[in-house]
């Protein structure tokens, strides 16, 4: 009876009704209205760090697959990517385009939410960290989009070249348009610059963005823009905070995957959501590339697994399994620094930088320091080591694109499948991958020419 009286009282007192209905329907739900909630979105590494598409690596020349393996691949999109054909997107969620833009949108939701949060002085560090991280994730995604879907950066034409859609807010009603290539890269640089001022020197975990990660990405971006002065500045800023290198002599070749995850070189950990063709069981390392590693070069045994039939697979991921690492690590920054110095004419310094990395790669006591007599020979040495060190980091496609604009470093790619030879000459239109047709159909954006 009591309960009935209570019921009547509740029903009749409409004033309490609003409160009664304000209870959340699911305890797990929340609004992104606090710094903690925003940080939680940025800390969901499955989306933010672990599902980068590896389309550039699939298109690049670090590996090949035999015809039988190729024919057995179920994904036509992956097969077409391998052969630089037109239809390279499965028209479904999630594909390489949506994976990158999902991160952009989460970053935008976070940035918008943070704008509305007035943080107490005690929370300022947390607020800064969240905003810096959101900016960095957005910039990193934009950089990958630019690396895949645009031509190489040329300072003279960048203002009129087609760039990428720059989505800077979470309004999904906004129609996507392509910014110029210059505006695209400027946006990336601006985001990273702003992120660097906000992020801490040392993150609580390398899944999280940090100041060195922002510097490293800026060095990478400026290098792709052929702006060697700035690339050098930021490479130095990175190394001032995160210069540690692994000594490969300390690693065990007996382990299935010798490189420890989250090792000292890593400043930000991200990986590729491995496309089927890049699985350890399928992708065979380019034979000439494998042979180019010196017998005393420890990477020859630590990077590669002998399949027993004269073939080698890659096992050197900084993720310590078959999934490829594509984050920011010190070895890349040493190589950026060395390249920029060489390009700026500082041959000796550039060789010193290269050697400080390489001595950790060679069997103790066997390393003979590299020397170069000219800028060109220095660059050749550095770019050769760059390719060997950064194999399967999803950097090669962007490097090919960038270096093909220079007569000294041009490469023509070949694939032979089912008796047909496919060729990709330098500066071919196909270096800017086709945007998914569904995206073009809805947005009306201009497709890359083939």
């Amino acid at each position: 009876m009591k309960i009935l009286i209570y019921a009547f009282v509740v029903m009749l007192s409409l004033g309490s009704c609003k409160k009664y209905l304000d209870e959340k329907p699911d305890t797990k739900l929340l609004l992104p209205a606090s710094i903690d909630a925003v940080q939680g979105l940025l800390d969901f590494e499955t989306t933010m760090n672990l599902q980068n598409p590896g389309t550039g690596e699939v298109s690049a020349d670090n590996y090949y697959v035999p015809g039988a393996t190729f024919n057995a691949l179920s994904s036509e999109a992956v097969r077409n990517t391998y052969l630089w054909l037109d239809d390279i997107t499965l028209n479904e969620y999630a594909n390489h385009w949506s994976r990158l833009y999902d991160v952009v949108t989460i970053a935008n939701v976070c940035l918008e939410s943070l704008e509305k949060i007035t943080s107490a002085p005690s929370e300022q560090a947390a607020w800064n960290n969240a905003r810096g991280a959101a900016l960095l994730y957005r910039a990193k995604s934009f950089l990958t989009v630019a690396g895949y879907w645009t031509k190489a950066y040329n300072t003279n034409t960048a203002a009129s070249d087609m760039g990428i859609p720059l989505r800077l807010n979470s309004d999904y009603e906004m129609v996507s348009t392509r910014a110029s290539l210059k505006d695209s890269y400027d946006q990336i640089i601006n985001d990273l610059k702003a992120a660097a001022t906000l992020l801490p020197d040392v993150p609580r975990h390398v899944m999280r963005p940090s100041k060195p990660a922002a510097f490293g990405l800026m060095a990478r971006t400026y290098l792709l823009m052929n702006n060697y002065d700035s690339a050098l500045v930021y490479a130095d800023k990175f190394l001032a905070l995160n210069a540690g290198l692994l000594n490969l002599n300390n690693l065990s070749a007996a382990a299935t995957y010798p490189f420890p995850v989250y090792n000292t070189e890593v400043s930000m950990h991200t990986v590729i959501f491995t496309p089927s063709i890049l699985a350890v069981s399928r992708a065979i390392v380019d034979t000439l590339l494998y042979r180019s590693y010196d017998p005393n070069d420890l990477r020859r045994s630590l990077y590669f697994k002998n399949n027993g039939n004269g073939n080698f697979s890659f096992r050197g991921s900084y993720n310590q399994n078959g999934t490829m690492f594509n984050g920011v690590a010190a070895d890349e920054i040493y190589l950026i620094k060395a390249e920029c110095m060489a390009r700026l004419g500082k041959i000796n310094e550039s060789m010193a930088t290269l050697n400080s990395l390489m001595i950790t790669r060679w069997k103790t006591g066997t390393f003979i320091p590299f020397t170069a007599g000219s800028v060109l020979s220095a660059l050749k040495l550095i770019l050769n080591e760059r390719r060997k060190e950064l194999i399967f980091r999803d950097l090669r496609w962007m490097d090919l694109k960038r270096l093909n604009t220079e007569a000294d470093f041009q490469t023509t790619l070949y694939r032979k499948i089912n008796g047909v030879m496919y060729t990709l000459p330098p500066e071919d239109n196909r270096y800017a991958l086709p945007i998914p047709s569904g995206v073009i159909a809805i947005s009306g954006m201009t497709q890359n020419p083939r």
Binding site: L30, D43, A68, T105, S281
Partner: protein, 999 residues
């Protein structure tokens, strides 16, 4: 049988004793009660409306009709015995039960289930059909709008058996034993063993398996490929291989399963109820027991207990209370065919000596046999034995407690207060004991063998794996209601107004224990945090299952409702009903929480009019209603919402995901319904029935808006109130009494017609390929039904190659990129027809002579389409072991295209060729069919003579047959369109039953 006789006499003795004590009421009152009982009363959960004064569209299903079928689930007994209710067993996106078709595109499709006045939130299987008196279905707005935002899909009101005042002691007992035959797997259209072997041999010769055979992941290799590989490696002679493969060709896994795996299913039901009443009290008590054992040794047990009492201590006050307690127990059995991914079409389950064979499930057997040098546990999976070691049990306890007070304040004014509490606790335990495959797999996978001394370290503790999920539902309902009923001369007014508060709280939690010992009920501590190397690949991995899962959800509704009916001289009736609902649905702005829904109706009983004189049609009534019901989806929200996942296993930080992007204009869906009905009856009800025509309009329906993936919201999509649909239909039910002598023959015709089409949809000018559909999910294409079957136009097979052909710009083409291109528009698609039947119903004949009663029910469904399982070479190559037998009739030589539509086999695969064929109209089939729904044959004994020892008792024995088969079907492949493409249609089932009734 002994059991029955015992029980029978026991009941007899105790009931007679009780009958004497309570005393029989006087005959006049008894007759009055009985007379009232025969009037059909519709119960909508808030009030009881006599049929004569109802204007809305109600269907009343009585106890006898519910007893015609013997299914253990109450809703399954509605199939084919009433108009407008369609039941689908297809699963997937098909709504399982619909009332008058579809009212929504993207919102919830299930009708609201009311059990004794309040919405029922528990497991529908917990309701024992043997304790149900009747069901009322509320179909139009006037009938249903009193349920407001949850009534958009119709309402099914279930009424349990209750005692009545002045009712003499009544005893009702029944028992049913049903036997369901083994499934006839040989009728399934799956690829023949020899065909499957042929494909494997071809792929092997092309090097297709090379990657798998050398893969460091050591995937499962089929027996045939293993043989071919051993031959290549010189481990076995070609002659031996040929001999072994020849033996495999002659083994059919479906025969093996039928003969030595499946058994007959046995379902038993027992129910007993007592009821009675005096001038001040009415009571009933009952209980039931069900025990079902499936052909795969799955167990379902249900125990129900129910007690209900109404008490009138003083004249104006009525108190009522009821308690309904249900316990169900289920236990899983063996794997069903089709879920057994380890079985090849040519697999056997036993070796020649009759010992169970082991299968590889994750890794190649040749690899696991030598891995670990004998120091590991067996890696084999034994399908015939594993169900003894791996099973889930589910125990559910559901308690419903209902109390109510009814007090007549003054003359026709009364107040009602009701409270109901529902508690359901369920515990699911999935046990993989020490000997189960799963436990052995995890223990092995995380074992480390010391290469020096051979000692094994077990990172997953040895023993079983136990997963436990506890879930609780707590529901509180409070209702306060004022009623008025008055009669002034020829005017009659009935009105009610009330308010209701409802709260549903769901919680559940799941956790896992390794090293579980069944004997001792103890588990082991497990390190879920650190990564350990897998013994197979050396990759580092965390031991799975370390993250306990929790759910905590709370839904609250506050509602106000009112309803009035005015009738004049029993001729004209007008009804008006209105309701407002509010809830705590997250993010919906407060001003949109309160959605008013209303309805109005009018009824005219012509036969009571002064001028009406018809000997032919003594009863005739016209009805018309219009109004709104609503459909709310608790998962939608108007603002951006974030969902908390578990803390990251890597970083330890909490990780959140965006669950919904902002959508500030979100509203509830509304369904407007106009209903016109005629009820009629000829003299002595020789022909009686009703014809109803309705139109409905769903507005503000939720639909997915298509957004460019660059917007970054493809993971959740965005849903808006942008769509609308229209529907219309006819429900006819006619009963005829063909002969009414010693031999009685009655027929009842049930016919439903329902169409719907989308009038507004956001997805208008986009790629046609998105709309291709087998009818199971909504296509939401303007001008087409919500569930439409759409496909790519088919131009047959090419003469020289057997390639499938379609049309590009009106020309026959094999350009598969163009044929499946995103630039196709919806105009390029072929609309095959609706995916849900537009005409359905049944014809049943009831013959009785002396004590015999024979009831035959035929059901039909017309005008709908489905897709048969197409031959997909891509999935066949990926080892689809239940690929279709169409492979056998594929194109092989020029000329074959005349009699087959199945494309030729090519290698390498062109996946777009598969995409085109599997989406083409070549695989669309007509669903039309007629089936024997059930046959029921009963013999009734009654003991009418006063001096009979069993005076007052009635007895009935019956035999019931169901799943008796399809009489006619439109498709030529022998497919049963009511079941999903791969499902095994149930076998014929026969039940033997016994009922006892005493009053």
């Amino acid at each position: 049988m002994k059991y029955f006789i015992w029980l029978f006499f026991l009941l007899e003795i105790c009931c007679r004793g009780m009958a004497q004590k309570t005393g029989q009421p006087d005959t006049a009152k008894k007759l009055k009660t009985m007379a009232l009982d025969s009037v059909i009363v519709f119960n909508n959960g808030y009030q009881s409306i006599p049929k004569d004064r109802a204007t809305g569209s109600f269907t009343h299903i009585d106890n006898a009709t519910l007893n015609l079928q013997v299914g253990p689930n109450i809703l399954s007994r509605l199939e084919s015995v009433t108009s407008s209710v369609a039941i689908s067993k297809k699963g997937g996106g098909m709504p399982a039960i619909t009332v008058r078709g579809i009212s929504t595109i993207n919102g919830p499709t299930a009708p609201l289930i009311i059990l004794d006045n309040f919405p029922y939130e528990g497991d529908i299987n917990a309701i024992n059909p043997n304790l149900i008196e009747s069901i009322t279905i509320l179909k139009d707005a006037t009938a249903a709008s009193i349920w407001g935002t949850r009534a958009g899909n119709g309402v099914i009101v279930i009424n349990t058996k209750k005692g009545k005042y002045y009712q003499p002691l009544t005893i009702d007992f029944n028992s049913t034993i049903q036997v369901v035959g083994k499934p006839d797997l040989t009728k399934l259209h799956t690829i023949a063993p020899s065909d499957f072997i042929e494909v494997e041999q071809l792929l092997f010769s092309k090097g297709y398996y090379n990657n798998q055979l050398t893969s460091a992941a050591h995937p499962v290799i089929s027996p045939v490929v293993e043989l071919l590989d051993r031959q290549v490696r010189g481990l076995i002679t070609p002659a031996e291989v040929n001999e072994k493969i020849a033996a495999l060709r002659n083994t059919d896994v479906k025969e093996v399963l039928k003969n030595s795996y499946y058994s007959n299913a046995l379902n038993q039901q027992y129910a007993l109820s007592f009821s009675g009443g005096s001038a001040k009290m009415a009571w009933s008590a009952g209980g039931g027991y069900d025990y079902n054992l499936s052909g795969l040794d799955e167990v379902f047990k249900r125990k129900t207990l129910r007690f209900e009492n109404s008490f009138t201590p003083v004249n104006r006050l009525k108190l009522s209370a009821s308690v309904y307690l249900t316990g169900t127990d289920t236990r899983t059995g063996k794997d069903d065919y089709g879920t057994q991914d380890y079985l090849y079409p040519y697999s056997d389950l036993y070796n020649r000596k009759g010992k169970p064979l082991a299968f590889g499930r994750t890794y190649r057997q040749a690899y696991t046999d030598t891995l670990g040098g004998g120091r590991l546990l067996d890696w084999g999976y034994y399908p015939t034995e594993d169900d003894q070691h791996h099973y889930s049990t589910m125990q559910t306890t559901n308690l419903l407690v209902n109390v109510g007070v009814h007090y007549t304040v003054w003359k026709g004014f009364s107040v009602d207060a009701k409270y109901q509490s529902e508690l359901q606790h369920a515990q699911k335990r999935t046990l993989n004991d020490e000997q189960s495959y799963t436990a052995r797999y995890y223990v092995n996978l995380f074992s480390q063998i010391n290469p020096v001394n051979g000692l094994v370290t077990y990172n997953v503790p040895q023993g079983g794996v136990l997963d436990i999920t506890n879930s609780d539902i707590r529901v509180n309902n409070y209702r306060g209601q004022c009623n008025y009923a008055g009669k002034f001369g020829k005017h009659r007014l009935n009105a009610l107004a009330g308010t209701e508060i409802r709260e549903i709280h769901n919680t559940d939690e799941t956790y896992r224990t390794y090293g579980y010992s069944t004997d001792l009920a103890i588990g082991s501590i497990t390190d879920f945090k650190n990564r350990y190397p897998l013994i197979t690949t050396g990759e580092l991995s965390q031991i799975p299952g370390g993250e306990n899962q929790f759910t905590d959800q709370l839904k609250r509704y506050v509602s106000f409702y009112a309803n009035a009916a005015y009738s004049y001289d029993n001729r004209y009736t007008f009804t008006l009903s209105a309701r407002r609902d509010a809830s705590n649905l997250f993010g919906v702005a407060t001003n949109q929480k309160w959605t008013p829904l209303w309805s109005a109706g009018a009824g005219w009983q012509i036969s009571n009019a002064g001028f009406y004189r018809s000997a032919f049609l003594p009863y005739l009534k016209l009805r018309a209603t219009y109004g709104y019901t609503g459909n709310a989806d608790p998962s939608r929200s108007g603002v951006v919402t974030v969902f908390a996942f578990n803390n990251s296993s890597v970083t330890g930080f909490p990780g959140y995901r965006i669950r919904q992007f902002p959508n500030p204009h979100l509203r509830w869906e509304q369904v407007a319904i106009a209903n016109f009905g005629i009820d009629f009856g000829t003299a002595n009800n020789r022909i009686s029935g009703s014809v109803e025509y309705y139109r409905k309009k769903g507005i503000d329906l939720f639909a997915n808006a298509l957004v460019d993936q660059t917007a970054g919201i493809a993971s959740t999509g965005v849903v808006k109130n942008v769509a609308s649909i229209r529907g219309s239909g006819v429900d006819i039910s006619i009963s005829t009494l063909n002969t009414n002598s010693a031999f009685k023959w009655g027929t009842s015709f049930i016919f439903s017609y329902n169409t719907d089409y989308v009038t507004q949809s956001y997805l208008t000018n986009t790629s046609g390929i998105f709309y291709i559909n087998d009818g199971s999910t909504y296509a939401a294409l303007k001008g087409k039904p919500v569930h439409a079957v759409l496909s790519l136009p088919w131009a047959g097979l090419e003469h020289n190659t057997g390639n499938p052909q379609g049309y590009v710009n009106g020309k026959v083409s094999t350009d598969y990129a163009a044929l499946t291109s995103n630039s196709l528009t919806v105009d390029d698609l072929q609309y095959n027809g609706p995916g849900l039947p537009q005409f359905f119903g049944s014809i049943s004949n009831d013959f009785s002579w002396k004590g015999f009663d024979l009831h035959i029910n035929l059901s039909y469904k017309f005008r709908y389409f489905f897709k048969r399982k197409p031959l997909n070479y891509g999935s066949l190559f990926l080892n689809d072991k239940t690929s279709t037998s169409d492979f056998g009739s594929r194109w092989q030589n020029p000329g074959d295209e005349i009699y087959t539509d199945v494309p030729s086999l090519i290698y390498p695969l062109i996946s777009k060729r598969d995409d085109f064929y599997t989406q083409s109209s070549a695989v669309v089939e007509k669903g039309d069919h007629i089936r024997i729904q059930f046959v029921n044959c009963a013999y009734n004994f009654s003991f009418k003579r006063k001096n009979d020892a069993l005076h007052g008792w009635k007895m009935q024995c019956f035999v019931n047959g169901s799943n008796l088969g399809i009489l006619w079907r439109a498709n030529k492949h022998g497919l049963d369109p009511d079941y999903a493409v791969n499902a095994i249609p149930p076998s014929k089932a026969f039940a033997l039953g016994f009922r006892l009734f005493f009053q």
